[in-house]
Amino acid sequence: MIFRCVNLRAGAKLFLSVTFTFLFLTIFIGKDLRAQEAKDMFGVCAACHTIGKGKLVGPDLKGVSARHEEAWLIKFIQNSQAMVLSGDETAVKLFNENNKIPMPPNDFTDEQVRSLLSYIENYVEEPAGEETAGSFADSKVAEHKKLETSHAPTKDRSRNYFSLILISICAILLSLSDLFILKMIRWKVVHIIIMLAAVFVMGGIVVVEIQNLGRQQYYSPEQPIAFSHKIHAGQNKIDCQYCHTTAEESKHAGIPSVQLCMNCHNVVKSGSQTGTTEIAKIYEALESGKPIEWIKVHNVPDHVYFNHAQHVNVGKLECQQCHGKVEEMDQIVQESTLGMGWCIECHRTTEVQFTTNDFYKNYTKLHEELNTGKRSRIVVEDIGGNDCQKCHY
């Protein structure tokens, strides 16, 4: 009997604990689910509002439940415009305070709005997000360093030149001193050969450098803002022409105005590499009206005519063909020589869209030759692309 009693009691205990756990779990998970739902719902609000991060388009929502009554809030969130039109004093005041930008109606139920409000009330900033951002930034820095080394050949080359020239000078001086003073090596041919080789090496370097006079390959100046094409064009996949808008219509590809930066940076205020320091320079320029003095990297001499529209719009070239893999550069480097040989080589090999572009209809002779099979293709050179006066006039 006692045994049964104990058993019963134990059973009741078990039953009770199971039900409580179950109840607890349902409440807890339910709460969690609702919180998750509220978080998703707030994604819509986040377009215009922040919690504790200041005014965006609409007011900061921190402590919003304290500022207004719940019933009023529910009504306002569901359809603010209706309230403004009905002449609700607080609603009209808010509408006017926020530049008369209407808040679109939301089809949330009363219950949903309540959970949304409690989400806003209990909102704490997630430190986890920052942590990931930090490690993200670290990985970016590491990548940045990797990139720096990958673009090092410029520096390496000059260092090689420097040591080569030093070695050559030393060799010449040594052989000269041996020739006239020490006289350790009997055969004068050795001295002469060493000196000739050294002069040959130095002469070679001089010739290469003279050929590069007036060219700026590997020119990579530091810009007033550490703008990274790698982040914008590579990581964020923004089209080149989004910012360089006139590449299709103008001689110049165009440098974006500060207002254009603000298309994204009105909201994006902190970068992954430099935080807020570099982006703050845009706001500074916008406020002061002083233009940002970007440094032009790709220059051709004034006696060369180059037109972006002709190459981008008509020739349908990819930007990367001349500018290199810009989407992998943190700081822009001139990869091509932009020399005349480089231009001509491309004009000799690049095919023209001869049959599809009506502009070339007038070249009747070439069309005839193409049709009879005398020519298999038309390259830029065939239509006068390599005539002197095409680029020099």
Partner: protein, 194 residues
Amino acid sequence: METRKRYSLILLGALAIGMLGLSSCNHDPNHPGWAYMPDMYYSEPSNAYSENVVFRDSMSNQLPVQGTIPRGYMPFPYKQKSYDDQILAGVELENPIINNDKNLERGKKQYEIYCSNCHGLSGDGKGYLFTSGLFPAKPTSLIGDVVQNKPDGEIFHIITVGSLSGLMGAHGSQIQPDDRWKIINYLRTLLAKK
């Protein structure tokens, strides 16, 4: 005496060549390098975007004189960020672009450059900048009723001066008026594709 003179001459020559070589290998990435006899190398007239001593704001690029209208350019008479003007533009502006394949293709191309970053390739508002979490605000779905029910002129107003909320910036300086209409024509086809 004779040998010493010859010795010093040869040494001088070697040093001169060495110095010439050394001076030419200054590869400072901040320096554009040297030009040899730079005739017609640097431009005498002001280049685009250059500094200019003539103008008070020291910029070569100047805005058109106030009150003048460039040829082939239609002024945009509507106010920015004004709900009333946006509605008015919707009533008054008419889409002048014929809906043919060529124009749609152009619209598609322009849409992919200027709009798809945020609004997504299919127009569902899930562009890469939003889905990757880089841009915190959710872009409007362009295939939703809100946008599709707007008249062309209203969308044109939004593209030109930006959205009322200010989250979408003005794209009038980036997209030519004709291209804006072509983008709108392309938008209308997105709904059918869905």
